[in-house]
Structure formats: C-alpha cells, structure tokens
C-alpha cells in the first residue's frame, strides 16, 4: 500500500510486458534496476501521471507533518493551500494521462466536497471507469489486487464505501465494501473496516459475525469497536460491556481515543497504514466511526462509566502528555 513501491512495480510490470514476459528471476532483476533509477523507466503516459501523483501526495504528507505546530487559523489556511496545490497537480497528471484513475480520484478528494457531493462525483467516476475498462471482476489469480493496474479502481471502490458511510448510507457502504472483498479477498484497501462499522450501525449481528468469520476472526480496532456498538444497540449490555473491555485491553489507548476523538485529515486516497491495535489504528477507527457513534448519543458516557475505562483514558493522556 506504499505508493512508491507501487510505482516501481508498475514500471517493472509494464517494461516486462513490453519485453514479452520475463522469468521470475529476470523480473526480480528488472525490479532492482527500476528501483535504482525509476525515472528512466517512465515511458508510458499513465506511469508518468502516476509518478506525478505519487510526488503530489508526498508533498501533502510532508506538509501535514507540521500540522500539530500550527494554530487553527494557520492550519486551515495551510490545508486549503495544499489541497489546491494537489488539485493543480492532479490536473497536470490528467493532462498527461486523462484516464488515470488515481489522478481523477485524488482530484475529487482534494475538492473537499460535502459527503453527498463527493459521492456523486465518485459514482460518476466509477461509471466512466467502468465504461472505459469494463466491470471489475475476479481475475484468474483470484484477487484483483494482484494486478497492479487495478489498484486505482479498488481504491475508488473503497473510497465510495467510506463516503457512503459518511453520508449515512450504511447499507450501500456495506454493499460496496462486500463487493470489493469479493473481487479482492486479501482486502488490501481495508473495506472490511467500513463494513464492520456499517453492520454495527445497522444492528445486523448475523452480517457482522459472518464478516468476522470471513477474516478468520483476526480482529482489529474497527471490529472491536463495532462489536461493542452492536451489542450496545441491541440492548445486550453484559455482552456490550465484555466487548468494551476487549476493546480497551486490545487497542492501545483505546479508551482515550474513544473519549477524546481527534480530527483526522482526508485519506489520500488510502487510510494511513497503522499497526494492528496500535493507538494510530484505533484513532482511525474512532474517526471513521464518528457518524455511527453520534447516532448512539449516550454510548461514550456509558463507556466512560464502565470499570476503569474512564480512568484508563485519563492515565493514558497523562502518560503521553495529551490534554484532557
């Protein structure tokens, strides 16, 4: 899920195909050569556009590193400037290769639309891409993610699912997520996380459990949080309490993350990488769950009052020098 690494693979794949297909060993060698000097292998406009996008996203990420030091006003100004720059970069990439899904997707995300408007744009993009390239199907390899040139489409689908969640379309979000998992069972884009939250919101215990089983009950912050919300909504308070305790013990800083949610900036286009059950992961899960949590108005008050949950949140804040 590292865009840099994907660029290398794209370039190597494209070159390998133009050479008529290489043995595994030869391909490995080619990949090393590409990593040495990627620019030398950019000879297709689509890769050129992708390269521009990788750089543009890099620029945004670098600028975000100092956000903690900015005051609100400065942050908003800085943010709007970098999003505008990103839109310009996307326009340039699209001038190079108008069919670039990544450039079109990022251009939409950089426009900061409200969820309804963003969904309209994303669905329109989905229709165009489908018209250009046909429907997304399960390839012979068994997973669409194995084809590097399909990543943009998979990211678009994941983004549609998340935007559906943000616009309170939980069934549609789940359907997009499940369809994505069907064509890409490895689920590198993490559609299952969106599904978990939506199934909890829809009080669909069966669906929630089936999804959990589908991923071998590996669990993650979304799953823990979703299960707690699900049982709470179903009024099964003893089970909800157990799930909450599981969430608190598995997710690092989980109580703090839930009780003091922070602003998380737009995913460009992926959810940032985070270790399982890390504080970074649970922060993302709580952020994504915000519309679902708001819909259970007393959920956080209840959670805070369970066992040492509230105390744990405060001591986590103290230990890490976070305000309370």
């Amino acid at each position: 899920m590292n865009l840099h690494e994907e660029l290398m693979e794209r370039l190597a794949r494209r070159r390998s195909a133009s050479l008529g297909g290489l043995s595994d060993a030869a391909y490995a060698e080619l990949l090393l050569a590409v990593r040495e000097q990627p620019e030398a292998y950019v000879d297709d406009p689509r890769d050129d556009a992708f390269n521009q996008i990788v750089k543009a996203v890099d620029r945004v990420m670098r600028s975000r590193e100092d956000d903690d030091l900015r005051d609100d006003e400065e942050f908003m100004r800085e943010r709007s400037q970098r999003m505008e720059r990103l839109r310009r970069d996307c326009a340039q990439a699209l001038a190079t290769a108008p069919e670039s899904v990544h450039a079109r997707l990022l251009n939409i995300l950089a426009s900061d639309l409200e969820p309804d408007g963003q969904l309209d744009e994303l669905l329109a993009l989905e229709r165009s891409v489908e018209a250009e390239r046909g429907p997304l199907t399960v390839p012979t390899s068994g997973d669409a993610w194995h084809d590097i040139f399909t990543h943009g489409r998979l990211r678009l689908q994941a983004c549609i699912a998340r935007t559906c969640l943000d616009s309170a379309r939980y069934r549609m979000a789940n359907e997009y997520g499940q369809a994505l998992i069907a064509v890409s069972p490895c689920d590198a884009v993490g559609a299952r996380h969106t599904c978990s939250l939506c199934l909890a919101r829809l009080e669909d215990e069966q669906g929630f459990d089936a999804l959990d089983a589908r991923f071998d009950r590996r669990g993650d912050s979304w799953q823990q949080l979703g299960r707690t919300i699900l049982f709470y909504k179903l009024g099964r308070m003893a089970a909800a309490r157990r799930a909450l305790m599981g969430y608190a013990s598995l997710c690092e800083g989980g109580p703090y993350a839930l009780l003091r949610p922070v602003m998380v900036d737009t995913y460009l286009p992926d959810r940032p990488a985070a270790d399982p059950y890390s504080f970074a992961e649970v922060t993302l899960a709580v952020h994504e769950a915000d519309p679902v949590i708001c819909d259970v108005p007393d959920f956080c008050t209840w959670a805070e009052a369970q066992g040492t949950f509230g105390k744990d949140a405060r001591s986590f804040a103290d230990r890490n020098g976070f305000g309370w």
Partner: protein
C-alpha cells in the same frame, strides 16, 4: 389520533357518573346526565370520582403546562411552568402512587440522560403492564360499551408507556428494540391510538430495511388516514431513497410530501427540533402543518445523520436545499 388527556379525564368521570345513574329511572338519568358537562367543567368536585380519577385530572393539567405551553414560553415563564407542572405531578402521585402516567412524566424530566430514561422505562414496563391489567380485570360495568371503554382506559397508561419506550429506543440508537416494542403495542392496541407505527416507520428507515418497511406499511395500511401516507412514513421513504442514492425517487417523494401538507416548505427548511410530549405525542390535526412539524422533529434522527460540517446532517441539508421556499421542490420549479 394521539392521546388527549382532557378527553380521557372527561371519559373517566363520565363513565363513573353514568354508572352512578344505573338503576335510576331513565328520565331522571337523562336529566342528570344533561348537567354532566357543566358540572365537569365548573364543579368537578361535585362529581363522583376516585383518587385515581383525581390524580389523572392533575396529569391532564400538568400535560397542558409541560407539553402544550412550555415549548412556547420564554425563560422566566418556562421555569414557572416546570415548577407548576411538577407540583401537579407530585400531587397526582400523592393521590395515587400507581399513577403510571405521572411516574413516567416525572422521570422524563429527572433522568440525566436518554439512556437512563430508557432504562427506567424498560425496567418498569412489566410492572406497569401488571398494574394496568389488574385495573382492567377490576373493571365492571353493566353496559358492554361502557365496559369496553373502561377496559381500554385501564390499559392506556401501559400503551403510553410502551409508545414512549419505543420513541426513546430510536433516540438511543436501538432501532430493533423500537420495532419490537412497537409491534408489541400494535398487538395490544390494533387501532394504534398511540400512533406507534410512526415511530416504527422511522426505525425501519434507520435500519435501512426497505423490505421491512414495505411489509409494515402493507400490514398497517388499514390504519392509514385519508388513504394517504402520514409524514413519518413519507419522511422514512425519502430517507430510504436518499440512502439508496436513488435521488430522482427521493426528489419525487419530497415533492409528494410537500403536496400532502400545507406550508410544508417552512417546516422542511427550518427543521425545528421540538421536545417530545412527555404525556404522549402532541395531539394535532391530521395532515396539518403542525403534524408535519412534529414528524420532522421526530425525523431528526434521520435528517441529522452523517458527517456534515454544517451540523444539519446529510439528509437535512439535502431536504432544505431541495425544498424551494415556494413549497415546490427545486427540481420541478
């Protein structure tokens, strides 16, 4: 339909008065009954009544203050109304410790959260049911019609309890529970005097259960007034179309809602959130502007969903944007 406490107060005393005339000669009874209305309004103490009847009368008075006057009062007057209302409820409970309407109304104000009120209602439901059924079993009347009315009145505090519980379940985000409670009430009171089906419609939309709402609408079709879907059902359907991203259908349904209710544009753009009636859903005229205002207020759980910086919710923003001030949906103007 909803529950009008003053009408119920009248019915209670009317029943008791009618019973007191049993055995008298019909002409005298008719003469006596002719004076009932005047005595009810001007000298109710002269009418036969139990402590439970007296308590219910105080509940009716408190309802006027809390449900019908308070929402329109300024801060100074609001405080007075609340004090006065609660004094009436305390007095009602002093007269009849099992006045479940008064108990429920007091707790509505005293509960620190939606959740604690909902918990209280859930925990108390079985006892209220038992008490109401006991009262119903004690109902005795020579006239079969009066016996029916008396039995119905005996159960109403429980019906209102369940209706409140279903409404709070939706607010607490427990939509399956809301539907379960609503179904229970519909079974007990198939005429749905509490209009709990309105709450159920919203809960189905929250669960995005299109098929469930269709089945529910078909089953409750005989309860439809004027052969037209009420605002709760229509808002639920608009929400479902919006959630399916069937925007043409959503616009079409919004236009229909605007055609159904007078001055709909105002209610749909201002989207006022009113406090729920603590006695019961406010009694308003069917298909009036007030009814739409109530439905929009209860539909807040649908309108204010989603991530929306303006704080209005995704559907709320969409509805306001697509309702022209002339009452025509934007798209058809």
């Amino acid at each position: 339909m909803s529950y009008d406490p003053h009408r119920e107060d009248y019915q209670r005393l009317g029943l008791r008065f009618a019973r007191s005339l049993d055995g008298k000669d019909p002409a005298a009874a008719t003469r006596a009954f002719a004076s009932f209305g005047r005595r009810f309004s001007q000298n109710r103490d002269s009418l036969p009544q139990s402590d439970a009847d007296r308590a219910f009368h105080l509940v009716a008075e408190a309802t006027t203050l809390i449900d019908y006057e308070l929402p329109f009062a300024d801060d100074d007057r609001a405080e007075k109304l609340i004090d006065q209302g609660h004094r009436l409820l305390d007095e009602a409970l002093a007269l009849d410790a099992r006045c479940h309407d008064a108990i429920r109304m007091k707790l509505a104000a005293e509960s620190p959260s939606f959740e604690s009120y909902y918990d209280f209602l859930t925990k108390g439901a079985d006892d209220v049911r038992a008490a109401c059924e006991e009262a119903r079993a004690q109902a005795h009347d020579e006239s079969p019609e009066r016996a029916l009315l008396e039995a119905d009145i005996a159960m109403r505090p429980y019906y209102r309890w369940l209706a409140t519980q279903a409404g709070k379940a939706v607010i607490c985000g427990r939509n399956r529970e809301a539907i379960r409670i609503g179904e229970q009430l519909l079974e007990l009171d198939p005429l749905d005097c509490a209009d709990v089906r309105f709450t159920c419609a919203i809960a189905y939309a929250k669960l995005e259960d299109d098929a469930g709402l269709d089945r529910f609408a078909a089953r409750t079709k005989p309860l439809r007034r004027a052969n037209t879907d009420d605002a709760w059902m229509q808002i639920s359907r608009i929400s479902l179309a919006h959630k399916r991203h069937d925007m043409d259908e959503a616009r079409h349904l919004l236009a229909r809602l605007i055609d159904t209710y007078p001055h709909a544009a105002m209610a749909l753009t201002s989207q006022k959130e009113l406090p729920d009636g603590v006695f019961a859903r406010l009694a308003v005229a069917p298909f009036s502007e007030d009814e739409l205002i109530l439905a929009v207020s209860e539909g807040t759980v649908l309108l204010q969903e989603g991530r929306d910086d303006a704080g209005r919710g995704v559907l709320g923003t969409w509805i306001a944007r697509h309702t022209g001030l002339d009452g025509k949906p934007e798209a058809t103007r």
